[in-house]
């Protein structure tokens, strides 16, 4: 089970990492070609905006969430002495969060279908670039986050919330 989770996180990190490296390389290369060679790389701007940024930001969403880096206010819940009450509050919060993102994931799924149906995309230099692949990655990223939230819920109930991945 943990192996599968690690593997999926790893794949998402690689995808996001490729997009991040792409951002760095494409932007630097663009500055070089413009300043030294006096031309701009065609479509680079659109690719950065529509493909690389969203993938870099979202692909590893679940992993980032689960790493515990997302800031939250725990000053109040930490003061609660009653272990059972604290568990109930933590559990309730996680379930509400899960439902929120389940809703988001479902409609991102609908949106990727809509995106295919409607031919959403951008057209430059006579080429049509579809957006549905990115919309679909977004859906998968949110869905995977939902799965990890559910996992966190189970851990919280079992009282094992401390050992988060890094």
């Amino acid at each position: 089970m943990n192996k599968i989770i690690d593997r999926i996180n790893q794949v998402s990190l690689i995808l996001s990492g490729i997009a991040l490296a792409g951002l760095m390389i494409l932007i630097s290369a663009g500055v070089f070609t413009r300043y030294v060679l006096s031309f701009s790389i065609p479509t680079a701007y659109e690719i950065v905006e529509n493909y690389l940024m969203p993938i870099a930001v979202f692909a590893a969403l679940g992993y980032s969430y689960y790493s515990g880096i997302f800031p939250r206010v725990d000053a109040f819940t930490e003061k609660i002495q009653n272990v059972k009450l604290k568990k109930v509050i933590d559990g309730a919060i996680i379930i509400v969060e899960f439902l929120t993102f389940l809703f988001v994931s479902y409609y991102l799924f609908q949106f990727s279908l809509y995106s295919i149906d409607n031919g959403m995309g951008f057209k430059t230099n006579g080429i049509n670039f579809p957006l549905y692949p990115v919309h679909f990655i977004l859906f998968l990223a949110f869905l995977w986050m939902c799965v990890l939230i559910l996992l966190k819920f189970i851990r919280t109930i079992k009282g094992k919330d401390q050992d988060q991945i890094n």
Partner: protein, 437 residues
């Protein structure tokens, strides 16, 4: 539904989920969705969730977030900071009070190559805290200095907050970057003053601690020369590249990351672990920041639909005759918002509401943006959401609640005196941008 009832419900949802410990980004997304639903129904909720998630991230301008964070990671992981730090401590031997000031100034310099306060605070936490401790600083006090010094990354350009502000208010980013130089220096001076003051206060309380000067670890001269040279080169390349028009401030993120990577390669620091951990950290921080921005976008849609801005303006309307009072109220609102929110999120959410008011009492978007940024810097070290404090707490294993006791004092001091100086003398902001035209 009546928007005032919706507002109350949203406030309850917001408070319960926030204080219940839900992630800030989720709190914003959830309460924004609930609010939009209550005012205009479910279809707009679905539409905004679908469109805003993608479009907030699909932005060329915001590439600075991942790329400046990546650059910071490369800088920290190639030990450039560590050697520079040790060099400064050795050359300033003897005067311990000065070392706190040095840390603050170093934070300012590091801020000039990075826009990421959390990355810089974490870096300073790793290198400055042990050194400060050796020179007679209490552990928590040292940690608080690192947190505050790192938070300067947001006020010393390049600054993500200002880029976001410039983008949403159509204010020239170069004017903002130039205009904040003097206020940035004022902030550094204010922070240095309060650090020196606390240092002497603590040394009176606990005189023995401050006389035990330990040995600073010395590295080879070669390390110092190379790291100092590399650090300066990177800074010159980035600032020079922006200033001479080779690349834009946005592109500086990409170029900065790239040349820092080359520098790290030349220093022989690059291996699989270097790349993997730099990328991993960057992705985590980027996702976190962007999710908060998405949450803020959706929450802001609700605020817009509720017509709260108009109501706020109407409420504050009678006060329009006293500009100073309006500005103090607005800045107080920002101070509270920055306590609870990530900087960019607070800016995205509050600026469209507050800027028209500030403009109506005679402050330009440039002046307002920069005074607000000073308050925003303070927000990075205030509880309950103080990213810089958390970052230092994370690397030093010192309780964040203890660090907040110091940093909250700095934040209030900087906010009150910094904004007072700038409100009374707005020329400090406008003089440089105007004279460079």
């Amino acid at each position: 539904m009546e928007s005032s009832i919706a507002l109350i419900i949203v406030l309850v949802v917001f408070a319960l989920s926030l204080f219940g410990g839900m992630n800030i980004s989720s709190v914003l997304i959830l309460s924004g969705m609930v609010g939009i639903y209550l005012i205009v129904g479910i279809d707009p909720v679905i539409n905004l969730v679908q469109v805003d998630t993608f479009s907030t991230a699909a932005s060329y301008t915001l590439t600075t977030i991942p790329l400046f964070v990546l650059m910071s990671q490369f800088i920290v992981k190639s030990d450039i900071v560590k050697y520079l730090y040790s060099l400064i401590f050795i050359t300033s031997r003897g005067k311990s009070a000065i070392l706190g000031v040095f840390t603050v100034i170093l934070g300012g310099f590091l801020g000039a190559v990075s826009g990421s306060a959390s990355a810089m605070s974490a870096a300073l936490g790793q290198f400055a805290v042990p050194e400060l401790k050796k020179h007679g600083y209490g552990e928590t006090f040292a940690a608080s200095i690192a947190a505050a010094a790192g938070s300067l990354a947001t006020i010393i350009p390049p600054s993500i907050g200002l880029i976001v502000y410039g983008a949403i208010t159509q204010t020239s980013i170069s004017s903002l970057f130039i205009g904040i130089i003097i206020p940035g220096i004022i902030t550094i001076v204010l922070l240095s003053l309060i650090v020196v003051f606390i240092y002497y206060k603590e040394s009176k309380k606990n005189p023995t601690q401050n006389t035990e000067h330990g040995e600073t670890k010395r590295y080879s001269t070669r390390n110092y020369v190379i790291s100092a040279a590399t650090g300066i080169l990177i800074m010159v390349a980035i600032l020079g590249g922006i200033y001479s028009g080779i690349f834009t401030p946005t592109e500086a993120g990409g170029v900065g990351a790239f040349i820092t990577l080359i520098a790290a390669l030349i220093l022989g620091k690059v291996n699989k672990e270097f790349i993997a951990s730099s990328f991993k950290e960057t992705i985590k921080i980027t996702t976190m920041v962007m999710m908060i921005m998405i949450g803020a976008t959706i929450f802001t849609r609700f605020v817009t639909l509720s017509r709260l801005p108009q109501k706020l303006i109407e409420t504050l309307g009678p006060l329009l005759d006293s500009p100073m009072l309006i500005m103090i109220i607005l800045l107080a609102i920002f101070f509270v918002a920055f306590m609870f929110l990530e900087g960019a999120a607070a800016i995205v959410m509050l600026v469209p509401i507050t800027l028209p008011l500030a403009e109506s009492v005679g402050y330009s978007p440039l002046e307002f943006g920069i005074i607000m940024s000073v308050i925003g810097t303070a927000g990075l070290i205030t509880p309950p959401v103080g990213i810089s404090t958390y970052a230092v707490s994370g690397v030093t294993r010192i309780s964040s609640n203890k660090i907040f006791r110091y940093t909250m004092v700095y934040a209030i001091f900087i906010s009150i005196f910094g904004s007072a100086i700038l409100l009374l003398f707005p020329e400090l902001i406008t003089w440089l941008p105007n004279s460079m035209k």
